[in-house]
């Protein structure tokens, strides 16, 4: 087992004809992901190394049975592409694009929440890797192997760092999910942790957070109430410069939430052990699961 992506994944890549889109689509395919289609308006009839390109998601889904979308288009087109994928019946949209306007994210998030069963992961995320099964996104898969640790992270590169530390101790992963650090991520720590809790292959959950927002604090509450599996936390940003507070209103909204210390304490208060460095996270994993 694994979560979100596996051998049933049939991937359609939005922006497949762009340089980065082609590179990562092919990378995902080489890993074993079934890349069945691409979407680039006006380029229907072409193919990218054998993957057929369509003008619209509607047609791509109708012709290829795609069930998962990876969005790789520039920020000004990304919200539209996510909505198009959802409208066409795609059930999982993974958005890699960074720099999407915040109000776009808010509208897309709210619309998807209300109008059905579409899961969005990202935007501004590295994607999802289920080692040995499928890779959808830009996670460098060669560092990871199949195993029993589920990883969820707001940061891309930090995910690789932590995954790598675990790999060096001999741990593999059920799935690695980057949820992204944007103002309005489509999936939260809670959404992903709930899936790992339900996934029989996952025996330990690692969540990697960072300063800002309150997603880690909310996850701490959720874990205490709903999660039976051990969870190891990591928070980046203990020595980071204070973030931009958005006026006095921003300060009123966030209160004392959002610092690395507050987040680590919130997790520890709920029984989640928190590593202070990526290496410590791996050390704790060894303690819990055995070396």
């Amino acid at each position: 087992m694994s979560i979100f992506v596996d051998s049933d994944t049939r991937l359609c890549v939005s922006g497949i004809t762009g340089r980065e889109g082609t590179f990562h689509a092919m990378n995902n395919r080489r890993y074993g992901t079934e890349v069945v289609a691409g979407v680039t308006p006006g380029k229907e009839g072409q193919d990218v190394e054998g993957v057929p390109v369509f003008n619209t998601f509607a047609k791509a889904v109708a012709e290829t049975g795609a069930n998962t979308a990876m969005v790789f288009v520039p920020p000004r087109f990304a919200a539209d592409s996510i909505l198009e994928a959802a409208d066409a019946g795609i059930s999982l949209v993974v958005c890699i694009t960074e720099g999407i306007p915040a109000h776009d994210e808010l509208r897309v998030y709210t619309h998807l929440q209300r109008s059905g069963d579409v899961r969005l992961v990202g935007p501004n995320c590295p994607g999802i890797l289920s080692p040995g099964k499928a890779n959808v996104g830009i996670i460098p898969a060669s560092f990871f192997k199949e195993g029993n640790v589920g990883v969820v992270s707001r940061s891309g590169t930090l995910t690789y760092q932590i995954g790598n530390e675990l790999a060096q101790r001999g741990f593999g992963n059920s799935s690695i999910v980057g949820i992204g650090g944007d103002p309005v991520p489509g999936s939260s720590f809670i959404d992903v942790i709930a899936e790992f809790e339900a996934d029989p292959q996952t025996e330990l959950i690692v969540m990697s957070g960072e300063i800002g927002g309150s997603a880690e604090e909310e996850a701490a509450e959720y874990i205490a109430a709903n999660v039976s599996k051990p969870v190891v936390g990591y928070i980046a940003g203990f020595t980071a410069p204070p973030g931009k507070t958005m006026g006095h209103a921003g300060a009123i909204v966030s209160g004392s939430q959002g610092t690395a210390v507050a987040k680590a304490e919130a997790l520890e208060a709920k029984g989640v052990r928190v590593g202070r460095t990526p290496t410590q996270v791996a050390d704790i994993a060894v303690e819990i699961l055995g070396g």
């Binding site: 109000h103 996670i139 309005v184 980046a236 203990f238």
Partner: protein, 379 residues
């Protein structure tokens, strides 16, 4: 992007939010022309991106031309908490009966916009929020439905707005939300929102933060960016597409991805070092970006050593190595570099570095090792 008061008021005015009549000036003579056009008394306001202007003497009322000249001369060039005043906004004096507070802010936790209204405006609203949270009426807005009149009325009645101006405040809030949403702001804040003696309402101040990611849709707003007010190194970095924040230490840090960079700062600090900056070269960094990044880091004279911590996903380590090599050719840095490359094309990257055999560059295998090493060479 934060706007200055006068920029915020111009943005408000475009959406019909009432603001006092006023004009912009960068010199005393310009200011007096503006003041003459407005008539006296006139208010002279320093335009700097910081709170507490009033207390610092940056806002003065002038009863006549002579007094206006006196105030403008005093305020232009004034230092307000480290910022020099280069710009003025002059506006008609308002007859203030009450001071309210109003804002719309993008609330990440709630994944919705938060609207706030209080009748305790004109003072430090954070203090109000702490002392008497019930003095601030709040509610969240559904982004697809938008801010409705009933939301505004509810805020007004909960906050205790005077009955005779509920209609006026409702209209103002509706327009303020329109400005917030259509201009894609992360924050619009009005403190004070005034009620005048003749029971009109107006925004007497304007604090606006725009979403940088949305500026491509708002040319008019993008042009308002006040480069002179920003840290020159941060401007340099932004122009090159890098996220750079200056810190107090002496170890330059470069990484790819905000999380990894933050984690690197933490690990360096734990190893006893003091980071000189936060620099995220971003996903998919190309060689040029890396070269630029080195330039930005080294433009800070305090930097005694530099740590490169790269874990390649979309970023390819060979590109990073190439960028570093070019930087050495162009800039010829004299401080030591510690480089850790992992991830996509890491072997190629390390091979390139080995081949270039740059002076004073230490290649290490892990992040922890990199931190210890850079602290050591910075001594």
């Amino acid at each position: 992007m934060d706007l200055l008061e006068y920029q915020g008021k111009q943005l408000f005015a475009r959406h019909g939010v009432p603001v006092p009549r006023g004009g912009y000036a960068a010199t005393v003579e310009e200011a007096l022309d503006v003041a003459d056009g407005i008539g006296y008394p006139v208010v002279v306001k320093a335009q700097v991106q910081i709170g507490g202007r009033g207390k610092a003497g940056g806002i003065k009322v002038a009863q006549d031309r002579d007094e206006a000249r006196e105030h403008c001369e005093a305020i232009l060039g004034m230092d307000i908490r480290g910022l020099t005043v280069h710009e003025l906004w002059l506006e008609e004096a308002s007859d203030i009966a009450s001071e309210y507070y109003a804002s719309f802010v993008f609330d990440r936790s709630a994944k919705a916009t938060l609207a706030m209204l209080s009748t305790k405006g004109g003072m430090d609203i954070e203090a109000v929020a702490e002392e008497d949270p019930t003095a601030i009426a709040k509610l969240h807005i559904d982004p697809l439905l938008g801010f409705q009149d009933f939301h505004a009325r509810r805020l007004c009645f909960e906050a205790g707005v005077d009955a005779d101006v509920v209609r006026g405040v409702t209209v103002l809030l509706g327009r303020l939300y329109e400005a917030y949403e259509q201009e894609e702001a992360m924050l619009v804040e009005v403190n004070p929102l005034i009620v005048t003696g003749d029971r009109q309402v107006a925004a007497l101040d304007a604090k606006v933060t725009l979403d940088d990611n949305a500026l491509f849709r708002h040319e008019e707003n993008a042009e308002m960016r006040n480069v002179s007010a920003e840290d020159p190194q941060e401007v340099m970095a932004k122009e090159r597409g890098l996220t750079y924040v200056k810190l107090d230490g002496d170890i330059g840090i470069l990484g790819n991805g905000a999380g990894l960079v933050m984690s690197t700062l933490d690990v360096v600090a734990q190893a006893g070092g003091a980071p000189a900056n936060f620099l995220d070269a971003g996903g998919g960094s190309k060689a040029e970006a890396i070269t630029s990044a080195v330039e930005v880091i080294l433009s800070d004279p305090k930097v005694k050593a530099v740590l490169f911590n790269i874990f390649g996903g979309i970023t390819r380590c060979d590109e990073v190595a190439r960028g570093l090599i070019t930087a050495f050719e162009q800039i010829k840095p004299t401080v030591p570099f510690v480089v850790r490359l992992d991830g996509t094309n890491d072997k190629e990257g390390r091979a390139l570095l080995a081949e270039a055999n740059l002076a004073n560059v230490h290649t290490v295998a892990t992040m922890d090792e990199a931190a210890s090493k850079v602290v050591e060479v910075a001594r």
